[in-house]
Every structure is written in C-alpha cells, then in structure tokens.
Amino acid sequence: MAPIVSLARAAGPTRAGFEQGAITEAVHRALDLAGYSPQSPPQTVAIKPNLRFYWDHSTGETTDPRVVGAVIDYVRGRWNPEARISVVETDASSMRTRYAYPILGYDRLAAEKDVELVNLSEGEMLETQTRVNGRTVSLPLPHSLLNADLFVSCPKLKVGPFAGGNALHITCTLKNLYGCIGKRRKVVYHPRVNEVIVAVNKHLRPHVHVVDGIVALGSRPVRLGLIIAGTDAVAVDSVAARVMGYNPGAVKQITLAEREGVGTRRGLVITGEDVRALAREFPKRSQLMFKLTWNLQLKMLRAYAGLTGDAVPPALD
C-alpha cells in the first residue's frame, strides 16, 4: 500500500510562541490526514520523544512535551480512554533521563496527563543481532518496546547531529529510534551510525510517527509550527528531508533503510501543507560549511598548539 504522509501547521505563532490549543489541533489534524487506525483498542502505548541533552523544545533540539501531550489526548480520545501510556527514553552519553524528564517539562506532562515516565535504560534488554548492509549489528534493545500494543515515535524535525564526523543530513524518526538503544555510551556506535539506525528500525517498528516541527532546527531554530505524521518511517523521513531542503535519495539512512525493507518511498502520497513552501522557510544548514568551519578550525588549532606549545582548553579537547 502506498504510504501517506500528512503535514499540518499550527495557527500562530503569537508573540509568546505557539499555544497549546493550536499545537493540539495541528497534531490531531495531521493524525487524521495520515489515516492510521489500530486494529483493536491499544491497551499499552509507548511514546518515544527525542530528548537531546537538557535543551528544551525552544532550541529545536528536543520534542515539545505539548506535542506529546496532544498525541496522548488523541490516543485516549480516538482509540482507548483507558490506555496505559508511557513516555520512554534512554540515558545517553551525556544525558541522564532522571534529570532530562524534570528539566525538560516531562514531569509536569506526566502529572497532567497521568502517564508514566520510563527510563528504558533501567529495564530489561534484549540482545539483538541484525544484518544490515551485509554486516551484523549487535544491539541491546528494550524488551518492553517490543510488547507495546501501540508504539508512537515523536521525533524532532532537525539537522544533525554530526556524530563524530559521521555526519547525518537529518535527524527525524529513523534517528529517533537510535535513542532506544539500551547502551548509555551510544557514541561507540557513531562510526557506523547509519547501519545502527537501520538495525534499530528493523527491530522496533513504530505504528505511527508524529514529527515535532513546531520549532525546527536548521542553521538556527525556526518557528515552523509544523507537524508531520505517517505510518512509514522511510516515507516520513523522506518528507522531512524535503522540508529541510535535502534530497531524500542522498540521505544515507533513508536509502539504506529503504533497501533493508524498513519502509518505502514508492507511491508516496503527501497530504496537507505544501512541502516546497515549507522548504523555503526552513533555514538550511550546510553540511559542507559545518565540516569546514568546525573540522578545519579544530585541525588548525591542533597544528597551532603543536607548533607553539600553547594549550587547548578542555572545552575544545
């Protein structure tokens, strides 16, 4: 079946940014347009936002808890008012979930919506082995996610990160699942980041994806007020890439995921907002300039320190 990806924009923003009502309306409209409906009312629901360090949604780095709140309302309103809903995340190299949830407003969300906040790093892990690109990828993945009746991925619409020089074009729903890996020091996966992303996505298959582009991140944060929804990770990321000004066919994680059967772009149907108009608003981030500005500067700095004997501050080590 041809994948459908929907785009909806929140009304506003006002001077104070986007309001909860406008965000909720956009999320619900995007989900309606995406046309997903579970076969039976889900009893257990897991929602995976993208929490990046302790930077909140206004920086474009982290999923807005109001978007997750709107998804919770949709699940309860349309599919099962009694569903047991968990927001899930793992610890990362530099981020501890026990700090991230309260700092980023997820504690408040959990209290308001009566949902559970789960640190997947503390749960039972399944050691998985997956063939990707002809190589085996071994990963610990949370057992609980495999058993959820409904799994929703709520990534952020953003460019980067530029993991250890293994630059990604975009970070969206395929990359969001990288955050489900049970290992805290995920930097060890950076040298094979695309293969690892695809391996996770071959195991964990969200039923629906709701992308937070309320504040998106390119060369700078931008108030797009955009929500993208769909059921096919490859299709959703393809549309997200186009919104951010990239050719999806040139984004390795998308092409590799498609080749490995995670999803498809074939016959893609886009509903709602005009992708080209959105792409004109998005502040595209140049990967080449990033590499030039940071990598070249760091190389020059190390050469300078070697020549003069001067120090490099720990911040730049």
């Binding site: 360090f53 530099s94 309260p102 500067q297 720990p314 911040a315």
Partner: protein, 361 residues
C-alpha cells in the same frame, strides 16, 4: 621551583593543570583524585605523582602548595586539611557553600599561617581589566548605574554536550545556585565598588531544575553605585560565543566590556595565534591561551598566586573576598524569601535554595 599538588582532576582540575604548565617559578608535581581514570589522564599529561587519596598528597614533603578543585561540598574539608599540612592554598571558587563554612575555613587558614587565594578568574579577563582601569582612573566619574550579566552554565557545553557531574546538579552538594555563575559577577561588583547590599532579588526558573535557573538582582554599594545583575543557566551557547558583559554608567562617561571585546573572536584567535607563532620562532615566551581571549585568565591568576607565595605578600583575592561574595549571595536568597511579591517563586522555583539559605541563617 615551587611544587604544586592538584586536589581534584575533574573539569576545573584539567583546566588548572593546563594553565599551570605555563607558570614561571612553579610546576605541578602531583595530582590526587578518587577516580582511576582521572589519575591515568593526569599521568598521561606528565604528572609524576598521583594519589587516590588527597591526604596522601598533603602528607608529601615534596609539595609546597595546592590547587583545590574538588566539588564544593569538599572545599572546607580539603582547605582545612591542606592548611593543617602547612601547604599554601589556591582554591577554585566558590570558597565554600555558606558563611559558616567560610568562617571555619578562615580560622583554619589563619591558624596555619599559610597563604590562601580564591580563584576569581573573571577579574583577569582582558575587557574586565580595562574596565577596572577606566574606573580607577576616574575617567568615568562616579558610577551611578551598572549592569553585570552572565548567561552560561551546563547547557552551554562548548563543542558538544558532555555529562554533568551529579554533584553539580544537586543543590545539597553544590550549595545555592548563585554560587555557580552569580558568584563571578557579584565578585566583580564588590571588586569595582568595595561593598554591596541587596536592594532586591528575583529568582526564577524556566527549566525544571531542582533550583532556580535565572535571577535578576539589584545591588547598591556604600557609595551609591547601583548594579543590576542578570544570571542565567538557560542558554545553549556554542563556543566561542560567551554571553557575559559589564556596563558602567558614570557621571563623566560610560564603558562596557563589549567595547573591549573583539568583534570577531575567531579573527582575534587567528591574530593572537600568529603572534604566538612568531614569538615561538624568535625564541620569546608565548602568551598562553591568549587566542581564546578568556582562558588566559587562568594562567595569569595562578601566576599571581605563585608570585604572592614566593614574595610573601598577600594574594590579590583573599579568603575574605570569597567569604564576602558568599555572604552577599546568602543575603540575596534572604531578600528573595522576604519579598511578598515573590511568594509564588519562593514556593516553587527557588524553594530548594531558599530552604537551604534559611538553614544557613
């Protein structure tokens, strides 16, 4: 040659070791840290003696002075032990978490008759030094209004995000939040104007930390100079961006650190780097870390400490300076707690810190 031991080899310990490499008349010969990885890192950086327990370092007769960069909660204990061992002391700011701790530290240092200096490195930033010169020369007249701002902290982790130590996130271990960045700008106000009282303080938070993450404070010196202070932990800055400035408005003129900060820090780095390369090739001493604009302050400050110990003179920032800054911070928390307009803030945002401040009082 003065032999220095470094107590604590975390973020600031590593910075101090890098700075100490350029000291004249002193060298770091030992490092103590409870972490094996930290000690291995110290060894790799050429430190000959490493200790898992800092008491063993203090017992070594081959150490004349110490740089203390352990977590705040350990300052009193480490300073007291170093003083008892007869070592001269340089301690990273804040001096301590409370006036009570400062009092006991001052007593221990006085009894031991060792030199003690508190690290207030913002005084050595090039634009701050130039502002102080303007002020002291009388070129600005009498200062009536001033603004001191800093927004930085753990959400601005330079190149990439790094783990934040648990103690740094815990108000119990770290002490009141203003001891972090607020300490620097309050110290500058005291350094510029001599004394301060708190007219008003508003403590608030945007993020869900266990404490406030932004503050607006109004100080007044005995001579009537007012200072509006803004402190924040909420920004995701990327190096070399640095959201810090001081503005002085006087009866004869005004001056700002922004005037004395290069418009482009990258261009500044290129020029200073080229100058150092020339110095090196012509056999002269380089100006360490001058290309970073701010980090050179660590070298200059430590050199002042070494010079003071070697000459037997009083260090430029004393225990009394550190204590006074802590006292003002306690007064700020007290002021915020007393203000009826801030009831909601007291009960939510600043509650943890205020309860702590009340405990101190």
């Amino acid at each position: 040659m003065m032999r220095i031991g470094l107590l604590g080899f975390g973020k600031m310990g590593r910075m101090r070791l890098k700075a100490a490499r350029f000291l004249r008349g002193a060298t770091v010969t030992a490092v103590a840290d409870s972490s094996k990885r930290a000690l291995e890192a110290a060894r790799r950086q050429g430190v000959p003696h490493v200790y898992a327990d800092y008491h063993d370092l203090l017992a070594s007769p081959a150490v004349d002075a110490v740089i203390i960069t352990v977590p705040n909660a350990m300052h009193e204990e480490a300073i007291t032990a170093a003083a008892l061992a007869g070592k001269h002391i340089f301690v990273e700011k804040p001096l301590a978490r409370s006036s009570d701790e400062c009092l006991r530290i001052a007593d221990a240092v006085d009894r031991a008759e060792v030199a003690a200096m508190v690290g207030h490195n913002y005084r050595y930033f090039p634009p701050v030094k130039r502002l102080k010169r303007d002020l002291d020369s009388g070129a600005l007249g009498d200062i009536v209004l001033s603004t001191l701002e800093i927004v930085d902290g753990p959400l601005a982790p330079a190149l990439e995000s790094r783990p934040i130590p648990d103690w740094y996130m815990d108000p119990g271990d770290r002490g009141p939040w203003l001891l972090d960045l607020g300490y620097h700008v309050i110290d500058l106000f005291l350094w510029f104007f001599g004394d301060a009282r708190v007219l008003h303080a508003y403590l608030d938070r945007r993020y869900g930390f266990a404490h406030e993450d932004n503050a607006s404070i109004l100080l007044e010196s005995g001579a009537g100079a007012k200072g509006t202070i803004h402190v924040g932990w909420f920004s995701k800055l990327i190096f070399p961006s640095f959201d810090f400035r001081v503005i002085l408005h006087g009866t004869a003129g005004f001056a700002s650190t922004d005037q004395y900060t290069p418009a482009s820090l990258k261009l500044h780095a290129a020029i200073e780097g080229a100058k150092n390369a020339l110095r090196r090739t012509t056999g002269r001493r380089i100006h360490p870390l001058s290309y970073t604009f701010y980090y050179g302050s660590y070298v200059e400050e430590l050199q002042q400490f070494v010079n003071s110990v070697r000459s037997g003179t009083q260090p430029p920032t004393t225990i009394k300076d550190g204590w006074e800054t802590v006292r003002i911070i306690e007064e700020i928390y007290g002021s915020a707690a007393r203000s009826p307009a801030l009831t909601n803030v007291v009960s939510t945002a600043a509650g943890e810190s205020l309860r702590k401040a009340e405990g101190i009082r």
